[in-house]
């Protein structure tokens, strides 16, 4: 079984300050982990993914996440928030298949709404 917990339902930051969105996972297998972003009334967009390569993963729009097996965490960070970053963010876990790729159905966290103040 696998699950994912996003530790904050809402995060509020000022423009230009760092962003930290926290995620812990539980998986019976070595997981694949993802962060997706959803802007209002839009579909889900992939920010970044971890399969089995480097533990520090860089994504789009300046976001990155670090896989920490000992802490079972996959927190999302960005050094400087922009107004356009305001959205809902989902941490997602999947079973990892052979070769380090993921497969099948995704399990989503409950989401973190990021608000960016001017």
């Amino acid at each position: 079984a696998q699950s994912v917990t996003q530790l904050d339902s809402h995060v509020s930051v000022s423009e230009g300050t760092p962003v930290l969105l926290r995620c812990n996972y539980s998986s019976s297998y070595s997981p694949s982990l993802f962060w997706y972003v959803q802007h209002p009334n839009k579909g889900l967009q992939l920010l970044l993914k971890y399969t089995s390569a480097a533990t520090l993963v860089k994504g789009i729009n300046g976001f990155e996440a670090e896989f920490k097996k000992s802490e079972t965490s996959f927190h999302l960070t960005k050094p400087s928030a922009h107004m356009s970053d305001a959205a809902e963010y989902f941490c997602v876990v999947n079973k990892k298949g052979s070769g380090g790729t993921s497969y099948g159905k995704l399990t989503f966290g409950q989401g973190t709404i990021l608000t960016v103040h001017p």
């Binding site: 993802f34 889900l44 992939l46 298949g97 993921s102 497969y103 099948g104 995704l106 399990t107 989401g111």
Partner: protein, 113 residues
């Protein structure tokens, strides 16, 4: 290239009616997934298709829900005798195969009155 498309974007129906939601995956993608996003339950897996294999239906909430995928491309999610608790955004995703990153469509917002 074109992404995953879904239609309709919005659907309002009366309780007890049947609805059909359509998904057009990215061309060449062999895996197709349906998810549901609702206020109370968050994002939940419903069903997925991979090539010619039998679909994984383990997430379907009741036998009122069914889905088919014709010709390995377009998929239709059907909800029979809709209930108010079926109101949600239904998201479709596709991937090159079931080991690859999933790309999501914009969703269909279903409202059951």
């Amino acid at each position: 290239g074109a992404g995953v498309s879904q239609s309709p974007s919005n659907k309002v129906t009366e309780k007890g009616k049947d609805v059909e939601l359509r998904c057009d995956p990215i061309s060449g993608h062999t895996a197709l997934y349906w998810y549901r996003q609702s206020l109370g339950q968050g994002l939940e897996f419903l069903i997925y298709f991979q090539g010619n294999s039998a679909p994984d239906k383990s997430g379907l909430p009741s036998d009122r829900f069914s889905a088919e995928r014709t010709g390995g491309s377009v998929s239709t999610l059907t909800i029979q005798r809709t209930q108010q608790e079926d109101s949600a955004v239904y998201l479709c995703a596709s991937s090159r195969d079931n080991t690859d990153t999933q790309y999501f469509g914009p969703g269909t917002r279903l409202t059951v009155l």
